[in-house]
């Protein structure tokens, strides 16, 4: 079960180093769980950009040297959710009573690239995350008839949700016209349809249900992990050299997660998905079978994915408004899901939320899907 969550606000913090961002998420998570650092039996740290060796160890040493295993996890944008996935399995095997999954990042400004200097991709012009999402957008619009305004609505909704979230990088709202008139990055994606690169930290404390009493943990605020799934790319007949080629690679992970949890799309009350660009949200909620393929844009226009809709998506603002510190984002999704299932989301609260899904993608065709359940 998730027994504690903590978040350092997302944004730009030039006066803080990576460790500070991480620690200021870990301490609130421990406090939220009502446990001490020395209760943690294993820790997993998600981060991507190189900050020196064994950053997890040097960071947590500030809380005291307890000798526990600490694992540094790099899985691109899914690093944080992969750390959480590992923590889940660390607990589930029975080897550890209590686990900490945490992540932090200081992402450099500017377009994100994934390949090294002088690699062929640099000359081809395809080493450009948002260009990949733009290719997906163009094809989706051609296939489904989705207008540009439907994609922009995803971003408008994200900002509306974030305006009620003190942790968000971008809290000001805007209109569809302002989204479409912002600077063009890669046609049809404008700047306000691309997530900001950011800094921040997130943490979660996990403990098996049968051990809660031993540590004096309040079971009424603990949230069950009904499914924890991590997948990489499979062969789709087109080659796996670019994310644009497999926009629905979340589907196999989603099906595994539904099977593991005994739940189905009809049971899901709210969902956090990887919306690095607007098209990402539409295709992820289709891959999760929350909407038929090609119809998520209509559901978005109809307001079904808004906080007041029947399937609220990215209730905290998502990557589009929270920003995207790679190592932290996946655990940020867990933070929001847990907060909602506890009924502690304040003005963003989804009524009667019992089941939440957190889906996070990463370069290398990585997908994580976690299903959390109240009680």
């Amino acid at each position: 079960m998730v027994v504690g969550v903590g978040l350092h606000p997302f944004g730009r913090f030039p006066d803080k180093d990576l460790s500070a961002l991480a620690i200021e998420a870990v301490l609130p998570a421990l406090k939220d769980a009502g446990v001490k650092w020395k209760d943690i039996a294993i820790a997993y740290f998600g981060h991507v950009y190189y900050q020196g060796m064994s950053v997890g160890e040097t960071t947590l040493s500030k809380l005291g040297l307890t000798g526990v295993p600490i694992v540094n996890v790099e899985n691109a944008c899914s690093s944080g959710s992969t750390a959480f996935w590992q923590a889940y399995w660390g607990i589930t095997t029975g080897l550890y009573d209590m686990a900490l999954a945490f992540g932090a990042e200081k992402v450099p400004r500017g377009p994100v690239t994934v390949t090294a200097e002088d690699s062929p991709e640099r000359y081809i012009g395809g080493d450009h995350m948002m260009a990949g999402y733009a290719l997906r957008s163009k094809r989706y619009m051609e296939d489904t008839g989705a207008p540009a305004t439907a994609l922009a609505q995803v971003s408008v909704k994200a900002r509306q949700n974030a305006s009620m979230n003190p942790y968000a990088h971008r809290k000001d709202t805007y209109t569809i016209e302002e989204v479409l008139n912002s600077r063009m990055v890669a046609d049809p994606l404008t700047l306000f349809q691309c997530c900001p690169t950011s800094e921040g930290g997130a943490a979660a404390v996990l403990c098996a249900r049968e051990n809660l009493a031993d540590y004096g943990i309040d079971e009424s605020r603990a949230v069950s992990i009904a499914a924890a799934v991590l997948t990489s790319g499979d062969y789709n007949g087109r080659g796996a050299d670019h994310s644009a080629f497999s926009p629905y690679r979340t589907e196999p992970a989603a099906l595994q997660a539904y099977e593991m949890s005994g739940l189905g799309p009809e049971d899901v009350d709210l969902v956090q998905v990887h919306d690095a660009a607007t098209i990402g949200e539409l295709q992820q909620i289709e891959a999760l079978h929350l909407f038929p393929f090609g119809e998520a844009w209509q559901g978005t226009v109809e307001g079904r994915t808004a906080l007041s809709g029947d399937i609220p998506v990215n209730t905290d603002g998502g990557l589009l408004a929270m920003g995207h510190p790679f190592g932290a984002s996946g655990i940020r999704m867990i933070h929001e899901t847990v907060t909602q299932l506890r009924g502690e989301a304040g003005p963003r609260q989804v009524a009667n939320a019992r089941v939440g899904v957190a889906q996070c993608s990463g370069a290398g065709d990585v997908t994580t899907v976690h299903i959390l359940k109240k009680g």
Partner: protein, 164 residues
């Protein structure tokens, strides 16, 4: 061109060809095979290349040691030609770090007749003429190398001349 076939073919193809020192070199011998690499002058010519799995029949663009679909090592190098259809495209106005070309540039996702898709710049086409489904053909341009050395021969797409 390839001295060996099968699992080591792509590694052999990676080895530098000392005869080409003053001519552009392919940005990746496993993706683009140059056909006029014998010091003759004239436009750069070549074909896209990849591997076909003899066990399951899957085709892969670019390097492969194992079949991505069935993990077999029984692969044969194949020419994938120079024709395709535009599957999707975008006009990139904020380029990635290290981009050596003009801005904006058009990035095209092109489907080959044998199935694989190939990302490359689309040139010689007005933005207003770009259309999903249009036939395109591969062309090769020399681009200065990022770290010095011979120019890189880069495969790009342009509208097919046949206009079929």
């Amino acid at each position: 061109m390839l001295g060996m076939v099968g699992q080591w073919a792509c590694i052999m193809a990676d080895m530098p060809n000392t005869n080409q020192s003053v001519l552009p070199v392919s940005i990746d011998h496993n993706r683009l095979k140059l056909t006029n690499d014998d010091a003759n002058n004239g436009p750069l010519g070549g074909t896209l290349t990849g591997f076909r799995c003899k066990e399951c029949g899957a085709s892969v663009f670019g390097p492969a040691i194992f079949c991505q679909s069935c993990t077999s090592t029984d692969l044969e190098p194949v020419d994938l030609g120079d024709q395709g259809v535009l599957y999707s495209f975008t006009i990139v106005r904020i380029p990635p770090a290290g981009w050596p070309g003009d801005v904006p540039y058009v990035l095209g996702q092109v489907e080959l007749p044998s199935g694989p898709q190939v990302l490359a710049e689309v040139i010689d086409c007005e933005h207003s003429d770009l259309k999903i489904g249009m036939p395109v053909e591969m062309t090769i341009q020399a681009v200065p190398a990022e770290n010095g050395g011979p120019d890189k021969a880069v495969y790009k797409w342009r509208p097919a001349k046949s206009g079929e």
